[in-house]
């Protein structure tokens, strides 16, 4: 038995796979933000009792959480002190010396997480080539330890310039601090968290990690104790921002790696389902109430990026390249000062919600447009739990239509088209703008509102197939349990791609190899389940941004050099539209992703028995023309191998799937609805 848990701000989702081919057990219950583990334990106890399951059979419990992210946003995190090179006390606050919005004098970057009086600079300065300009003043570090201890810090970070390549001073200062600070104070050096150049981003990542350590540590204590209390024999695994899992041990040390894990777990779930269904190349579209998240997977692998923001601070951790935009079911439609129709980024959220909930909402939303057009059920949603007042939605959209001087139907369609354009733009930025052609990919949709937009988005991008998984609302929880253990090691070398540079590359790889080996041992990964993925970051000399390229360490140096050169020019050409073949290439960093494969539960299979008949019919407006009498199917009635010809609507608890006229959908063995987008 495998369990996946996703704790969000509003709901805690639990998915259980009994690993016998039977359906997933799913449970959604309100989150308990003050003590997130309560909802988890409560939910697990309930579902196990109901189904007569024994905790002793749990082989893995995987957990994605936003506990850290929420703590940062609310700034309920630990007190952090900082030791840095003399003269650079303000570096963390100056940042990149820019304002966040060029044309807004009233918005600021968030105040730094280390207060200025807790930032202490000590005599120390190493230069780019490793030469010592000012040696580390150890007494000054001891003195600083005293001041920080008196200020009752929870954690101290050590951030020296050029430590990505020359970490000795940071390590020495950390030793001194550990010896001179109370036992409960954690000490972290920037080179241990993210040993790459560009000081502000490295320092910021280290500070955020430090700020999370206390809060995540105590959460993990409570969580592991209460899960053990249920009788679960295996250790909890934590989802990471790059989609893989990590042990509780790693999560305590590097809590920052879990910070963006929610969307990553969803992508992991999509990856598993899409690959099984024969779609290794997909673009995911996860539409919720407020935002849409998109990601691209090629050959069953998700693209990763390093540069992300968390609570307004830059962080550099491996994370799936998930692009989020402000368009969801609750997004509000409004007329801007210029008279043009806009949708989002403001959302009506769950409260007051769209007009059609009739709970006090005053502005029309995307959901109201869908209700008005008949795409969403105009009587009830959520299996009858949410009554819908279609008339209120129609009134609101009609008011908007009057102001826009177009018909109410055109307005409702316009709302969907504008929201769709926002999602299309997000997808273009991770596909077309990176040299991929969307028509080579299937669109994999999830989240409550994804399947309402699937066809419009796919058509706009020339995509031919849409895949809707059986439980789109709970894919994050499902995804977590399917992931492997993984971690990333990286080192900056800044060497030319030539004979000498390859020597640097190989010696860096050796060092990374050793670090990966230590990790495999610490995580008890059996040798046959070890996997390594090697990459370099490279650029033309003089550029500032690197492109990531995979490489094969076993190749001869000549071949490796030739292949890397060719691959780099080609990637530059697809990414930026030109390559400068005579220009020298610089290797910026070498990285290895260490993966410990875990046993995966088998995917449940859908029965071939079911009911082919629709449960009802209703008029639906698909385009500018007229309403079409459309059959409505219940998702729970569908059976493996079933064909559905559009126009059709498929409803399930928290999702509605729209199949347009001339489209056909087939239900596959695993219960996915695969829609063929013919009307191109």
């Amino acid at each position: 038995m495998y369990i996946g848990v996703d704790v969000g701000g509003t709901f805690t989702d639990i998915a259980i796979n009994r690993d016998d081919g039977s359906n997933l057990l799913l449970h959604k219950l309100p989150s308990t933000p003050d003590a997130p583990e309560q909802a988890i334990v409560e939910g697990l106890r309930m579902i196990m009792e109901q189904e007569g399951l024994s905790a002793a059979n749990v082989r893995r419990l995987a957990h994605g959480t936003t506990v850290g992210t929420n703590a940062l946003i609310q700034r309920k995190c630990g007190t952090v002190g900082l030791i840095t090179s003399r003269g650079f006390r303000d570096l963390l606050e100056i940042g990149r010396q820019t304002r966040p919005a060029v044309y807004d004098m009233h918005s600021d970057h968030p105040a730094p997480l280390v207060e200025r009086h807790l930032r202490i600079d000590v005599p120390q300065r190493t230069l780019a080539d490793g030469s010592v300009h000012v040696p580390l003043d150890e007494d000054a570090v001891r003195e600083a330890a005293g001041r920080l201890a008196a200020a009752k810090v929870d954690c101290v970070v050590v951030c020296f310039l050029h430590s990505y390549a020359f970490p000795a001073d940071e390590q020495r200062a950390a030793q001194i601090l550990l010896a001179n600070l109370p036992n409960h104070v954690t000490v972290i050096s920037s080179s241990s968290v993210y040993p790459e150049f560009r000081e502000y981003e490295r320092f910021s990542t280290t500070v955020l990690n430090a700020a999370l350590i206390t809060i995540i540590g105590s959460y993990l204590d409570r969580l592991t104790a209460s899960v053990a209390g249920l009788g679960v024999p295996s250790e909890v695994k934590i989802s990471q921002s790059a989609g893989g899992l990590m042990s509780v041990r790693m999560a305590r040390e590097y809590p920052i790696r879990a910070s963006l894990s929610g969307p990553a777990a969803g992508v992991q779930g999509a990856l598993r389902r899409a690959t099984a269904a024969g779609f290794p190349d997909i673009i995911t579209l996860d539409v919720g109430g407020t935002s849409a998240d998109v990601a691209l997977l090629r050959d069953g692998t998700a693209v990763e990026v390093n540069e992300r923001d968390l609570a307004g601070f830059p962080i550099r951790i491996p994370a799936l390249d998930v692009n989020a935009v402000g368009a969801g079911g609750g997004s509000i439609a409004w007329i801007d000062r210029d008279g043009l129709l806009k949708v989002g980024p403001r959302s009506a959220g769950a409260v007051p919600g769209p007009l059609c909930y009739d709970l006090g909402g005053t502005e029309p939303t995307v959901t109201d447009a869908n209700v008005m057009l008949g795409r969403l059920n105009n009587e009830t949603l959520l299996d009858g739990r949410m009554p819908i007042e279609a008339g209120v939605a129609v009134d609101g959209i009609t008011r908007l239509a009057t102001a826009l001087e177009v018909t109410p139907d055109e307005t409702a369609l316009g709302i969907l088209r504008v929201a769709c354009a926002t999602m299309v733009k997000a997808i273009r930025s991770i596909s077309v703008e990176r040299g991929h052609t969307p028509s080579d990919f299937a669109l994999f949709v999830y989240g409550g509102a994804g399947a309402l937009f699937a066809s419009d988005v796919a058509r706009e991008l020339g995509m031919k197939r849409v895949v809707v998984p059986p439980d789109p609302g709970i894919l994050c929880a499902e995804g977590a349990m399917n992931a492997a253990l993984s971690t990333d090691f990286v080192t900056t070398i800044l060497a030319p791609l030539g004979t000498e540079g390859l020597r640097d590359l190989r010696s860096a790889a050796e060092e990374l190899q050793a670090r990966a080996a230590n990790w495999f041992t610490a995580e008890s990964v059996p040798v046959e389940q070890e996997r390594r993925v090697w990459t370099i970051g490279a650029r033309y000399f003089g550029q500032n941004y690197e492109l990531t390229l995979p490489f094969d360490l076993t190749l001869s140096s000549d071949r490796l050099m030739a292949e890397l050169k060719e691959a780099f020019h080609a990637k530059h050409e697809t990414t930026y539209g030109f390559a400068s073949k005579s220009e020298p290439i610089q290797i910026v960093n070498v990285a290895v992703k260490a993966i410990g494969e875990l046993e995966r539960p088998s995917l449940p299979v859908l029965s071939e028995d079911g009911k082919a008949a629709p449960v009802s019919r209703r008029p639906v407006l698909f385009d500018n023309d007229h309403r079409v009498d459309t059959p409505v199917y219940a998702r729970t009635d569908l059976f493996s191998g079933q064909l559905i010809a559009g126009p059709a609507i498929v409803e399930q608890m928290d999702t509605t799937v729209v199949i347009f006229p001339e489209e056909t959908a087939v239900v596959d063995l695993w219960g996915n609805l695969v829609i063929d987008i013919r009307r191109l």
């Binding site: 003269g87 650079f88 303000d90 570096l91 606050e93 100056i94 990149r96 010396q97 820019t98 304002r99 919005a101 060029v102 044309y103 807004d104 004098m105 009233h106 600021d108 207060e115 009086h117 230069l127 780019a128 300009h133 310039l161 050029h162 990505y164 150049f197 560009r198 000081e199 502000y200 801007d336 000062r337 210029d338 008279g339 043009l340 129709l341 806009k342 826009l404 001087e405 177009v406 055109e410 088209r417 504008v418 354009a421 926002t422 733009k425 273009r428 930025s429 703008e433 800044l494 033309y540 003089g542 550029q543 500032n544 941004y545 530059h572 990414t575 930026y576 539209g577 030109f578 220009e583």
Partner: protein
């Protein structure tokens, strides 16, 4: 039939995403630090008449200077003289309607079935454009010929091929030509990207709908700008302030404005402003327009998309040959310094009209430090960077410390990148204690940055402003501290430099000390809350002496 507000939004969205994509592509593939790290570039799509329809994320100083090139190309070649596969470039402030020579604009016409539909254009600040001084930004020059290569609007490409003669001519005139070639390639590629992206867009919407849509998108911004101006009370608002000097012969250069708001229209009249100067901080009409539009946007409607429509309700008057409407052959490389002061006087004038959005004066400069030299290993380098300073205090909050303000928002180069690429080291990078003006809300602090050449002698040139005339406080707030350039020798001597030093040689036994101005405070210092004053003390940003002096009651 006019385009519906729904279709206009959809087309705007589609066109804006092309301009955004050009912007990112140029940023990521360029060589000049000015582009790749400091984002001193902009991208836009124009209609066939030469009006900006959508602009990517962009530098305020490019708000209008980009407007020039396409217009001039159309005047010079006529619509019939522009052919598919052409690209044009120019950098000249006078014949090309740019704002200074290092900003090179490149435009590509977009055709559909032989018909001119629009133009894609980008502009980028090159690290060098030739001239007397490395980096092409130094002071000490009196006419534009000394500042660099003047490129009139000419063809760079024909039939989709670069005209090699033109490129050779340009590259021979600039320093580090290999890198500059990389920048030209990146700019050409960004336009080619736009050509690839606009083709399916035009196909899908049809050329007529696109042309109709461009009108609708420009009209929408015009409407929106008019609505925003209506928020200001009618009246005439006056202000004046001084630029420190021109680095050569003139000090205390006066900039004066009278702003008339009449319902939904606004007029900026710079009558009474001093004549253009011998130094290089003259602003041409393109720069003046950019500064006025920046103020409108930042005060009235920060989210307003930028296009030609912004100009619709705006009239700008300035004496020809004045420092804000300079004529040939005035030097203009450092026009950003004066543009910052133009912003100061506009915001100062409108303070009574919009006290809750206005701020006290910020550091009012685009403080720049340029280094040229030959490393101990014999490699030539040119490096330019600009520094932030204090931002003015606001009606509800303190001003930001150490940040780029108004017409510039370029990020710093990471020290670890700088020290890896250039034989320079940074010894200090920190806030300047006590440099923010006191007030109910205090002004932001200036920045101190110290540079040391390693193992060789470097040639330093700088541009400083608000080194003499303090950034003013408002509604009772105190002014912020001024900045300075100095040489600190290891023997302990400090030598104060001119505000715009040119080609100064500095060896490895000295440090170049750059201090930028702070910013003014907002409101009476006596009203500053006691815990805010306690915070000033605890953070170490203000000394006890300063607190005793400005906040005697609260200390």
């Amino acid at each position: 039939m006019a385009m519906s507000p729904i279709d206009a939004e959809l087309l705007r969205n589609a066109m804006a995403s092309i301009a955004d994509e050009m912007y990112i592509a140029l940023l990521k593939s360029a060589y000049s630090t000015n582009i790749k790290e400091r984002r001193d570039h902009s991208t836009a799509l124009f209609d066939a008449a030469g009006r900006v329809v959508v602009q990517g994320e962009s530098m305020p100083l490019h708000l209008a200077s980009m407007l020039g090139l396409v217009e001039v190309v159309l005047e010079k070649y006529g619509t019939e003289g522009v052919r598919p596969g052409d690209m044009f470039l120019s950098n000249d402030p006078y014949v090309g309607r740019g704002s200074h020579l290092p900003d090179v604009a490149i435009a590509a016409p977009v055709f559909h079935d032989g018909k001119l539909i629009m133009f894609a254009c980008n502009i980028a600040h090159h690290a060098d454009i030739g001239g007397m001084s490395p980096g092409s930004m130094a002071g000490g020059m009196t006419e534009i010929y000394q500042e660099g290569l003047r490129i009139p609007p000419i063809r760079l490409m024909r039939d989709g091929e670069v005209i090699q003669d033109v490129m050779d001519m340009i590259l021979l005139n600039v320093r580090v030509p290999e890198e500059r070639l990389g920048d030209y390639n990146a700019q050409i590629a960004a336009n080619q990207l736009a050509l690839r992206r606009t083709a399916p867009l035009i196909q899908r919407w049809s050329p007529d709908r696109i042309i109709e849509g461009c009108d609708a998108i420009i009209a929408a911004v015009a409407r929106r700008t008019r609505a925003a101006i209506s928020d200001l009370p009618n009246g005439v608002y006056h202000f004046e302030d001084l630029v420190d000097d021109d680095g050569l012969s003139r000090e205390d250069i006066r900039i004066k404005v009278a702003i008339s708001v009449t319902n939904d229209e606004i007029e900026f009249d710079f009558d009474g402003t001093d004549p253009q100067v011998e130094g290089n901080n003259n602003v041409t009409m393109a720069g003046l327009q950019a500064a006025c539009l920046y103020c409108l946007k930042v005060l009235l409607d920060p989210d307003c998309p930028q296009n030609h429509g912004m100009l619709n309700p705006v009239t700008i008057k300035a004496p020809k040959g004045s420092v804000v409407n300079a004529t040939f052959p005035a030097a203009s490389a450092a026009r950003a310094q004066t543009a910052q002061r133009i912003v100061d006087v506009i915001l100062g004038a409108l303070a009574p009209a919009y006290p809750e959005r206005i701020t006290a004066a910020s550091n009012g400069a685009n403080t720049s430090a340029a280094f040229f030299g030959r490393s101990a290993e014999g490699k030539y380098y040119v490096y330019l960077e600009t520094l932030g300073g204090g931002a003015g205090a606001r009606a509800y909050r303190d001003g930001t410390d150490g940040v780029q303000v108004h017409m510039t928002n370029t990020s710093n180069l990471p020290i670890e990148a700088l020290e890896t690429e250039y034989p320079l080291m940074i010894e200090r990078y920190e806030y300047v204690e006590d440099s923010g003006g006191a007030g109910k809300y205090r002004g932001g602090l200036g920045i101190r940055r110290d540079y040391r050449p390693i193992g060789h002698e470097t040639t330093f040139s700088g541009q400083g402003e608000r080194f003499v005339h303090s950034p003013w406080g408002i509604f009772g707030g105190a002014p912020g501290a001024t900045g300075k350039f100095a040489i600190l020798s290891d023997s302990g001597k400090e030598r104060r430099l001119a505000n715009k030093p040119s080609a100064l040689r500095v060896g490895p036994d000295s440090v170049i000390n750059v201090v930028t101005a702070g910013a003014g405070g907002y409101g009476d210092p006596q009203e500053r809350p006691v815990d805010a004053v306690a915070g000033d003390r605890k953070s170490g940003k203000f000394s006890q002496d300063y607190i005793d002096k400005h906040y005697p009651k609260q200390s």
